[in-house]
Subunit: 418 residues, 3 copies
């Protein structure tokens, strides 16, 4: 199995390392590897960013995946480059089948079971591609079919130009590793485009026999930072339904809330399911947590409200409202600071991504707070705003635009709120 | 019975439609009509503004007042015009007595009982006027008496120039409908003055035999918007004492609080009597409501405090302090917004009415919020401020002046706080 | 016993009258006098500022100290001047020993017991000086020793230049009152310096036989206003340990909290030990008090949090965060106002004292609020800021500098926050 876990995504800013994002005791990558390991997979190659190599290697060691290799993709240059980065690690397995997956996409593990079953049934000679059926346009790769045979993938064709209602997932089984690698190598690099993998895939489909498998479970890609909330919702739902566990040391209360080791919930505090309170976290007097995940060692101080939000580890709140927000590790808010999470005009919340305005499609979206970022007392952040790692917003200010990593906005005069 | 329920009062801005203001299950008009109906009155003529005709007609139909008529007063031009607007509806009853009342004045219904009893005792040949005894100057109409006979009404004579200590209420019984109408018709209109009714009344008093009845119960006129709080206090007191009921579907808890259908009061929330929580309203975790009326379908969100305030229907609060305030239907406040309700200098709170500064006489007065108006997160409103229907106050701002209907105050720069 | 209780200290601004600061039922002066009276002391001379003479006289009368005298030190000119101010009151006791102490320093009363015991054992012919052993440099007066004999006191020698590790406390026993007075009188005044007492003391040490006593208990001087918090901590600890009592009408709950007469603690409020709630105080719904002292008649309104703070009498809070702060009598905060109490840069909090920046050495320090000072709704004060008596901070503002007595900061424009 080839697991693509590299790629520093600008679109995910100010958050980092999607595969290393933690939910309960596991990172997404760990969850992914474990679910494949449980199906008998013994040999993994994990492609990572240089910055995360150590952490991922430690993870793989911890899982006891002895036949596995962690390889580094030097620069984030797309899937083709990621596969080629793994060439050396694939030596000796060139004739074996290869299963290409992505760690940050969250599925029901039943997807992998189904892929392997269908493969062993011999349904596909050269490749098997997972896909989901969509009812309205989604900007992904659409399957082109002739009967059961896939004849190509059309990337983002535009609404009403879709060749089918089937969008591919990154769960691709190939009969031959070396044929995949060679097909990629044959692609001439096109400056500014990183679609060599997709072109190679289409080439293989034309010459070989590819089939598809329709996945009908829930899934969630992690593309933009607010998708963390969707992944959280999905996992809270799976944990609550008993389909997965957040970890062996989490106890589920009668009301459905998951509570970790050494958690202290003070008198007058309310935690409403679905919710998970991480190990060693503190929920202060008269606080309210609902529909949220509170990371390990975090403090939800006196009178705070955390609604439908993801708090990383070591987050410190003190009488704040955190709604529909994602807070990175070690970030904090001073007393009375608040994340506004819906627009007075009642529209869906937009957010700037790489300088461009993206409609998040969400009626409610609060703040995306990078690691170690801090918000001063009685400050307010407007819906969909993002603050980079280590950024600081001063007391009593209103923030209506993004702050870059390390940027400080300390007074209204120096300001420039639009 | 002629019920005057028209007149769009500028002084009541930003609130509208005094007679249609709801307390519990009833509007003031409904309460008024019901209390008269209970005394055997069968024929009503209700004079309304064009805008409220439909609502009032529906109300009258709902009450089953078949012999009643709802008539429209095209423009708000005073009581004389209101009576004349009803002329056609009074056809056939010209020789019967007529009882002129106003829907927005709140009395103990015993007033009407006493008026009818005294009338039937034949105490007054031509007219009977209700009055209250005042101990200090009040800007109303004062009775001029010769023995028991009323010889006239002096409007706002000024302090120490009062002809008596009796101020008239709008509860006037006349022996003859056509004589009242004719007396009004005989008044020449004086541009800029709408006192034709009062002049006609004085004329009738000179020529006929008018008596008065002293009402000793509590009463409250609804003139300025903050009077809504006084009416609320009066009704909460009457409900609590069992003298009236807020409606058949309200249950009174042991501690005296009235709770409507499908109300949800979350853990940690406190409701302290006297108080009424309207049907389908939500009182969130750790909120506090005291001495207040929460309208139907309103949400008093997490950690909010509502003290001595009137909230209309569909109001949404989220961790606010609302003190001594009146919130119109569908208005809302973002997290942390607060209504300051007393002055740092310890004086009574003034308020602008039609451009003029009026002393409200209240040590504590918060915000008057028009229908659909919205206040941003962490914003503050200064004592006695008013926001028009649909007005918006931006986040983290301080509002020290009134906002017109639909006006937006979104940044300090564009501001102009005095 | 001569008790020095005068000296208006600029360093203590905006607070006043250290010896009259109340903790539980007692002022520091009362506590001091009572602890000495319990040891059999019958004759006190208390030196006070003109402004506090009446209060101290009433206190002495209340204690039934008939042989005691309250004398006024006209101007704050140091210890020598204070002793000389008491000359007349010392007439008739010139040949008796004299014990010089200071009311605002807080010790375990065992210090006085030990001083008297050692004295009666005849350990010192001419004088006995209390001292504490320090492990790192402290800017006080250091003992110079030859064997057991004290040969002098070196004031603030500077780090690594200390003649010993013993710092003097103001607890000095002299064999002869008139010799102390004469030694002081013999000192020529040096303009700008008020060290005549120290010079006299050194002179006596050279000519006579002085010994020292090492005090090993806890002690706390009251020099800067934030020291009120240290004194509070010390006394809360002593009360909790049963070593002293805050007063006969305080009841200690099972959880250790001291609660005065007629205290009302509303539902949902939490008081966490160590803490004292003064007589007639109110702790509102859903409030939290911990590690704090709430003065008599104070109101900790709905949803407030008071952490590690000293509130004087008649303080009014309403949904505030008061952390590591000292609030003078009659001061108040509007809803949502907050005392920020640690720096975003994680450094110790500085404070301006007499125009100079002093490092308080505290990681957490909030607001020092003078008597009657007021803070508007949703305002914030930065760590270590002080507001003078009667000063006012307007709504929604951030205060990053001190306000003088009576000064008003009402709008950002007029501002000048650094």
């Amino acid at each position: 199995v080839l697991v693509l876990a590299g790629g520093a995504s600008n679109r995910f800013w100010p958050l980092l390392d999607k595969p290393l994002l933690r939910f309960g005791d596991q990172t997404l990558l760990e969850r992914h590897l474990r679910s494949l390991e449980a199906l008998g997979v013994e040999r993994f190659v994990v492609v990572v960013r240089p910055e995360t190599r150590q952490a991922v290697q430690a993870l793989a060691d911890g899982l006891g995946l002895r036949q596995s290799r962690v390889v580094v993709q030097a620069q984030a240059r797309g899937m083709a480059d990621a596969v080629l980065s793994a060439r050396e690690a694939l030596v000796g397995a060139e004739d074996a089948p290869i299963y290409v997956t992505q760690a940050q996409d969250v599925f029901d593990p039943i997807l992998h079971t189904a892929m392997f079953q269908r493969w062993h049934q011999g349904a596909a000679a050269d490749g098997l591609i997972a896909a989901v059926r969509v009812s309205e346009y989604f900007p992904g790769g659409y399957l082109k079919l002739e009967g059961n045979r896939i004849t190509g993938v059309v990337e983002k064709p535009g609404a009403s130009k879709e060749p089918s209602d089937l969008v591919t997932l990154v769960a691709h089984l190939f009969a031959s590793t070396h044929r995949l690698v060679e097909a990629i190598e044959a692609q001439a690099p096109i400056p500014g485009l990183d679609d060599a993998y997709e072109r190679a895939l289409s080439g293989l489909m034309v010459s070989g026999s590819f089939r598809h498998l329709v996945y009908e479970g829930r899934w969630q890609a992690l593309k933009f930072p607010w998708h963390v909330l969707d992944v959280m919702d999905l996992l809270l739902e799976r944990w609550t339904a008993g389909q997965e566990s957040p970890g062996p040391d989490y106890e589920q209360r009668e009301d459905g809330v998951f509570v970790g080791r050494n958690v202290r919930i003070f008198p007058g505090a309310h935690v409403v399911a679905p919710a998970l309170i991480g190990h060693d976290a503190i929920i202060g007097h008269n606080a309210l947590v609902r529909g949220s995940l509170v990371g390990e060692n975090s403090v939800v101080g006196f009178g705070s409200e955390v609604a439908r939000s993801y708090l990383g580890r070591h987050v410190e709140l003190h009488h704040n409202y955190v709604g529909d927000s994602v807070f990175g590790e070690g970030s904090s808010m001073g007393y009375g600071a608040v994340t506004a999470n819906f627009r007075l005009d009642g529209r869906t919340v937009p957010s700037l991504v790489g300088g461009e305005r993206v409609d998040t499609g969400r009626m409610k979206l609060g703040l995306i707070l990078g690691a170690g970022a801090r918000v001063g007392v009685n400050a307010s952040t407007m819906p969909g705003v993002k603050m980079g790692a280590g950024a600081i917003l001063g007391p009593n200010l209103r923030l209506a635009r993004d702050l870059a990593d390390g940027q400080r906005h300390l007074s209204e005069r120096a300001g420039g709120n639009p």
